[in-house]
Amino acid sequence: MKRIIAQTIKELTQLGRDRLTLVLALGLPLMLLLLFGFAVSLEVNDISFAIQDLDRTPVSREYIATFERTNQFQIVARGANVKIPQLLDRGSVSAGLIIPPEFARDLQRGDRSATVQILVDGTDANTANIVRGYAQATTNEFVANLQGNKSPAVSLRSRLWYNPGLETLQYIGPGAIALTITLFPALLAGLAIARELEQGTILQVYASSLTGTEYLLGKAIAFWLVGMAEVLLVNVEAWLFFGLWFAGDPTPMIFGSSLYIASGVFWGIFLGSRTKVQSAAIQAISFTAFLLSLMMSGYIYPVANIPAAIRWLSNFIPARWYILLTRDAYVRGVGWLGVWFPLLALSLLASFFFFIAWRNLRVMQLSE
């Protein structure tokens, strides 16, 4: 035990002396959190919209006014001469509406329906999908107003639970916390091991009476402490800048954080001992711990959207489970009952990563 603590203290002093890395380790997550929280947003508001009105009647103007009233569309061009395809080509609008000349007449004649055309920029499929829905809904509203308020057979009463304002930050924010703290604990631990192997100082460890397990735990505890400090900093920042606060019992998240950081540290140590070179370790860790977490954790789009052929991979990514915990703590607030499974998965992953790191380090001598 004493020897483990000695290892930890040695590792922390070494880190304290490396100013650049220390600043990066504690400062970079703070910057990344803001970027991840604010720059990734799927909120589709103020859709830039162009309207070519070839009808120019009170009815078509009323139709246009319905679009204005929704506050979701920002009409940047309108009139009879607006060339919507060109505007779309240049990317200055994301959708356009063409009202044909006979619009009002067709609408008032009973036996046929008026037709309008909406052109949507499909470059970004998600935005296009939402714009399409809004345009359809706005048209329906216009028609409903025209018909007078005769109530439909089934009226829908929708309630949006947990996030009634549909604020993206409530969803992205907790995910950003998980992503931000995923990189550095693993990176620092991996670098520390790779450095010892690269510079040959590991030989001194071999020569000492330290066992593999002690060595591993000593290193792991040091970076686990750094990681937990990061967790604290990042959460405080999220309270201040994202306006997040615990919706329920935060203890599952706190417990989960310690498991999450531990699994990151063990994974870093494993990779560091495999690659044996610092620059390769950086590459390997930034790819597996960071990019894979970014893509497969469900931080932007739900995990269920990933094609099944590669979805199984996400089960091995701790961030995928940890995000469920942060979302529960900050948005859902269900507590232990709702998140026992992610916790179980995290502890399994942490033990698995510990095991493979231990297997790599247990032999405390030069291999033949």
Binding site: R90, N129, I130, L156, N163, S279, M295, V334
Partner: protein, 409 residues
């Protein structure tokens, strides 16, 4: 079987005739080529090529990630919603209500996952995230429908994921609207007046299948050029610094500009190769069209390449070791990537973030990529972006050469 060799020799005559003007032309070109082959620049270039091809790790680092990135990103970031889980609490339990529930089977977007006896159970499942939508049908549903009285149905959404919830809500209200119009249709008595209707024809341009991968993959081309270009350039320059050979390079009569240009040459070829790999993968795996001019695309890619490289050289002039260079790249690359609109649309960002994106050169490159690949437009629509990129390339290149020079003296 024996063929007659005579006719072939006959045919060779005219060919020798044609070769004459070409040799003439070559004769004119020789001094130029010779000059290039004799120059210091060429010698340095050869050295850099040899060095880079011997460096297995760097080669892997340059050629492997684009493939992996493109495929993973293209498939993993998927906003297409299928099989959103719907829970149903049907207090009415009648033919009418079952008919109503059928609306969820009309699209792939939803799947009815369970029927609940009471709302509390459904609420628990919604709370744990097992359901996206919970529908509650009141006991009086069948009665009301039969008597043509308006009836309320409740829809609860798990809105933790705001985007999914709003898309689901859109779908559900569309389905209910269709149901209502069918009801209205069946109720109408022959004598009643026809009501006003508007048909909306929605045409999705550029990406009619709404393939999300088209957006991500076209954005990833910029990411690859920036991230890999800057990292590779940084590690190449820093390596010379670490090993100490940079002093030897400076001692040679070659100018600093020549030294830098020679360093960049092999990278230019490798990274252009990267982009071509990306284009082929985009075509084969994701079916992304190249609607615009290929050579314009190549030209802008080369232009943007200078931007990525200059960033790398700038990083390298500040870093002392490869490890430091890579860590500094972590500081620079994520903001560049996230603010470029490669993974999520810029229009969705908060206003102050949108202002920041104007400072990100990658933003303009990705606009050009999407313009040429998906929209098939040319310079007439993209000239402003190309001009801005030209500005970025000039400024960054001058800066990095100056920094590099200052450092050596």
């Amino acid at each position: 079987m024996k063929s007659d060799p005579l006719p072939i020799t006959n045919y060779q005559l005219p060919i020798t005739h044609y070769q004459l003007p070409i040799t003439n032309y070559q004769f004119l070109m020789f001094p130029l080529i010779n000059q290039l082959l004799d120059s210091r620049f060429w010698a340095l270039c050869k050295k850099e090529f040899a060095q880079i091809f011997r460096n297995r790790q760097l080669l892997i680092q340059i050629l492997l990630p684009p493939t992996v990135f493109l495929i993973l990103f293209g498939f993993a970031l998927n906003p297409e919603f299928e099989n959103l889980r719907v829970g149903i609490t049907d207090y009415s339990n009648s033919r009418a209500s079952r008919e109503f529930v059928e609306i969820f089977n009309q699209t792939d977007a939803f799947v009815v996952s369970r029927y609940y006896a009471n709302q509390q159970q459904m609420a628990t499942d919604l709370a744990t995230g097992n359901l996206t939508v919970g529908i509650t049908i009141p006991p009086e549903f069948a009665d009301d429908i039969a008597k043509a009285r308006p009836v309320q149905v409740q829809a609860l959404y798990d809105a933790v994921d705001a985007n999914t919830a709003s898309i689901a809500a859109n779908y559900v209200s569309q389905l209910v609207r269709d149901y209502n119009s069918r009801q209205a249709e069946s109720r109408r008595t022959p004598g009643s007046i026809q009501r006003a209707r508007v048909q909306v024809q929605i045409a999705v341009l550029y990406n009619p299948g709404l393939e999300s991968s088209w957006f991500i993959v076209s954005g990833m081309m910029g990411v690859i050029l920036t991230v890999i270009g800057s990292q590779a350039a940084a590690s190449l320059v820093v390596r010379e610094k670490e090993v100490g050979t940079i002093e030897q390079l400076v001692m040679t009569p070659a100018s600093n500009t020549e030294v830098i240009l020679a360093k960049i040459c092999p990278l230019l070829i490798l990274l252009t190769g990267d982009v071509l790999i990306a284009l082929v993968l985009a075509r084969l795996v994701f079916n992304i069209p190249l609607r615009g001019n290929f050579f314009l695309f190549l030209g802008v890619t080369v232009l943007y390449f200078w931007v990525g490289i200059s960033i790398g050289i700038l990083i390298a002039t500040y870093a002392q070791s490869q490890q430091q260079a890579q860590l500094t790249a972590f500081f620079i690359n994520p903001p560049l990537v996230l603010l470029s609109g490669a993974t999520s649309p810029i229009t969705a960002m908060p206003t102050f973030m949108q202002w920041l994106t104007y400072l990100d050169p990658m933003r303009y490159f990705i606009e050009v990529c999407r313009g040429i690949l998906l929209k098939g437009v040319g310079l007439e629509a993209l000239w402003s972006q190309v001009l801005i990129l030209l500005g970025f390339a000039t400024v960054l290149m001058t800066l990095s050469i100056r920094q590099f020079r200052q450092q050596l003296i």
